[in-house]
């Protein structure tokens, strides 16, 4: 399986959401990391044929995905950021319906739905109405629908958004389990999700991939160092103006800071191994919290 993006651009009026992007994906897990508004969802929507590019092409094994039409979508599993469903359908009916529009024969669909319900841990809730499921259960139903056609390409847009830590870990493990021998593109702004499961990470900003590589490569790409120090409360404001602070923990005696800087910020600062979160802050720092 090979997906290629050639000079891919999507503009909405004057705003360019995806800007002349060139990428190649084969089997493996790709983590798309970027702040809100970076263009991740637009890119994913184009990959799911939900949006047509303004210019450029997306090909799957050399064929234009929009020309492939249903043939391409047959290879696709998609969990959108805003996972909409039919609130008055039971989990089982919902999955059976999606199986039908994925072109799966009824007998096969029944079997597949049963398997997936069990795999995502919704067996006890299979006859519950979708609107009665918890946030985590809905997401699990969402991943189950994406997996119904055993897709070669799995696109997951912010799959762990809104989940509590337990659900998130569980969901992350589920994605890892499902990602074998497929092309998985996972978008998130939760750095740890990607760090755990992605083989390759893409950092996206302003519609462009600004950096890509494995977790280690991305971390090593950062030209600055990470320092840990403990300062008085009164100094924090001045430090934050001068340095990029990737973490701050307030304690009774002072504040523990994690600072990104090429120079040692204080004599007592200790150099530490950088993490992906530090890199995220380094590249997108000025936009975090926008």
């Amino acid at each position: 399986m090979k997906l290629e993006l050639s000079d891919l651009t999507k503009s909405f009026g004057d705003f360019t959401a995806v800007d002349h992007m060139n990428l190649t994906m084969t089997n493996g897990v790709y983590g798309l990391l970027g702040v809100n508004g970076a263009g991740k969802t637009t890119l994913m929507r184009m990959l799911c044929t939900l949006l047509r590019p303004t210019s450029g092409h997306i090909t799957c094994n050399g064929k234009d995905i929009f020309k492939m039409d249903g043939e391409y979508r047959n290879l696709l599993g998609y969990l959108p950021q805003e996972f909409g469903f039919y609130p008055d359908f039971t989990v089982q009916d919902y999955l059976l319906y999606i199986a039908t529009i994925k072109g799966i024969r009824p007998a096969v669909a029944k079997k597949r739905v049963k398997e997936l319900i069990s795999q995502v841990g919704l067996t006890k809730s299979s006859n519950k109405k979708m609107r009665k499921l918890s946030g985590g259960m809905k997401r699990r139903a969402g991943i189950a629908q994406a997996m119904l056609n055993n897709p070669h390409i799995l696109i997951l847009d912010e799959p762990t958004a809104g989940l509590d830590p337990n659900e998130r870990i569980r969901f992350r493990n589920l994605i890892s389990e499902l990602s074998e021998e497929r092309l998985v593109l996972l978008s998130t702004h939760i750095v740890s999700d990607i760090e755990y499961i992605a083989n390759e990470i893409w950092l996206m900003s302003d519609g462009k991939i600004v950096r890509k590589g494995t977790s280690d490569e991305i971390i090593n790409s950062m030209p600055e160092k990470v320092w840990k120090c403990f300062v008085e409360h009164s100094l924090v404001s001045a430090i934050m103006k001068r340095y990029k602070v990737s973490n701050m923990k307030s304690e009774p005696q002072g504040v523990a800071l994690r600072i990104i800087s090429s120079e040692k910020p204080f004599p007592e600062a200790v150099w530490v191994e950088p993490s992906l979160e530090d890199v995220f802050l380094y590249y997108f720092g000025e936009k975090v919290g926008e």
Binding site: P80, F83, G84, F85, Y86, D93, I101, N149
Partner: protein, 403 residues
């Protein structure tokens, strides 16, 4: 796939409530229709409903058969005799009602004579009282000659071709008329337009979300990213809309008709509608009129649904789509009052639900030298767009983008 689309529609609490409302409305309209039939007993007391229909049916069917000169004369004789009776001459209303009770069996024939012996466009309930047994044999000819006289006055602006068409239709009507108790059909036809209008609005409620709900529920991304999401699944939505419209329409109309006809009597299906619509140029029986009303109502409902679904697919808004049947079927009648162009207003979509009224009307259209009534124009005029808009609906929805 269609099964799931239908399930989506009827699993929504809003639509369940609408379905319940429809059932309750059908029951209420059925009761009102049944109570339309009125019978006055020998004591001058009036009753309505099923018992009234039973008595009236017995009385009227004693006159069943072809209404030739002898039957018309007999009706005049009996009418005169009753008019001269002590009860009829009394000043007491109850006594007069007792006299009327004796006329009920042939009151339709008397009314037909009254219609025949007044000028076209006029009405005199008591005209038959002064018609003699010699004159009455000309009742059928009077229908044609009255029309001819009216056309000659030039009160209405008909072309020569239209005049010839009207005269031809009048002449082509088979006489003598066949008579039977027809009150069941008359009550049914009078109220069926209300049933159809309620049905159309509620069906609009059902189908308005078929396309837009995917967007409203944010289920669009998954729907359109599936293998069949931009082809077969769209077609199944269109089919589901068509099926919901057709089945709801047929089931409800059939239930309403069966309730009314079984309780009021099915007799009179083959009688000409001129028994209650004397001036109508549509030479059809009550059953044929019923079918025409149903066909018009169905095309009207289908048209409103098609436009509603198109709006739903284009705007992604269920609220806007729900308003479409209301605008087409309820707002247009008001427009007809403002716009004083009857030739145009009688072709507004709401008229498809008013075939019962059109049957009484003398609206004519001349197209390519051929004259035809409103019904012959309006039904195909809306049926064709219903069919033609389906590919457009498909194209609009399958190209939808998720922005």
């Amino acid at each position: 796939m269609i099964r799931f689309e239908i399930k989506k529609v009827f699993s929504k609490p809003r639509n369940k409530a609408a379905l319940l409302f429809l059932i309750v409305t059908l029951i209420i309209v059925s009761i009102l229709t049944i109570n339309n039939v009125r019978y006055v007993d020998e004591n001058g007391d009036a009753t309505t409903g099923i018992t009234a229909a039973k008595h009236l049916r017995e009385l009227k069917n004693q006159w069943a058969g072809y209404v030739k000169s002898d039957v018309l004369s007999k009706a005049i004789e009996e009418n005169t005799a009753i008019n001269n009776s002590k009860e009829a001459l009394s000043d007491i209303v109850q006594e007069k009602d007792k006299a009327y009770a004796k006329k009920q069996g042939f009151s339709d024939i008397i009314e037909m004579i009254s219609n025949a012996f007044v000028s076209f466009g006029e009405y005199d309930y008591y005209r038959a009282d002064s018609v003699t047994t010699e004159e009455v044999s000309k009742a059928y000819e009077k229908r044609i000659s009255n029309l001819q006289e009216w056309l000659d006055t030039g009160e209405e602006h008909f072309s020569d071709a239209e005049k010839d068409f009207l005269i031809g239709q009048y002449q082509n009507l088979e006489t003598p008329f066949y008579y039977e108790y027809t009150d069941g059909w008359q009550a049914l036809l009078q109220n069926i337009s209300t049933v159809i209008l309620i049905l159309a609005l509620i069906i609009g409620f059902f189908v308005s979300g078929i396309f837009s709900d995917e967007f409203q529920l944010k289920a669009d991304s998954i729907f359109f990213s599936t293998k069949l999401g931009r082809n077969k699944a769209v077609r199944s939505k269109i089919r589901a809309g068509f099926l919901i419209t057709t089945l709801t329409y047929i089931i409800c109309v059939f239930l309403y008709s069966m309730i009314v006809l079984l309780l009021l009597g099915i007799d009179g299906a083959s009688c000409p509608i001129q028994w209650s619509m004397w001036r109508s140029f549509y030479n059809v029986t009550y059953f044929q009129a019923y079918l025409l009303i149903l066909l018009g109502g169905y095309v009207g409902t289908l048209f409103a649904m098609t436009v509603s679904m198109l709006v739903s697919a284009k705007t992604h808004s269920t609220v806007v789509a729900i308003m479409i049947p209301f605008i087409l079927l309820c707002v247009f009648p008001f427009l007809s009052r403002i716009i004083t162009l009857p030739q145009i207003c009688s072709l507004f979509p709401d008229q498809l639900l008013e075939i019962f009224v059109i049957l009484k009307d003398s609206g004519l259209y001349e197209i390519g030298g051929k004259v035809m009534g409103t019904i012959a124009i309006i039904i195909p005029a809306y049926l064709v767009p219903c069919i033609a808009l389906q590919p457009l609906l498909y194209a609009v929805y399958r190209r939808a983008e998720i922005k």
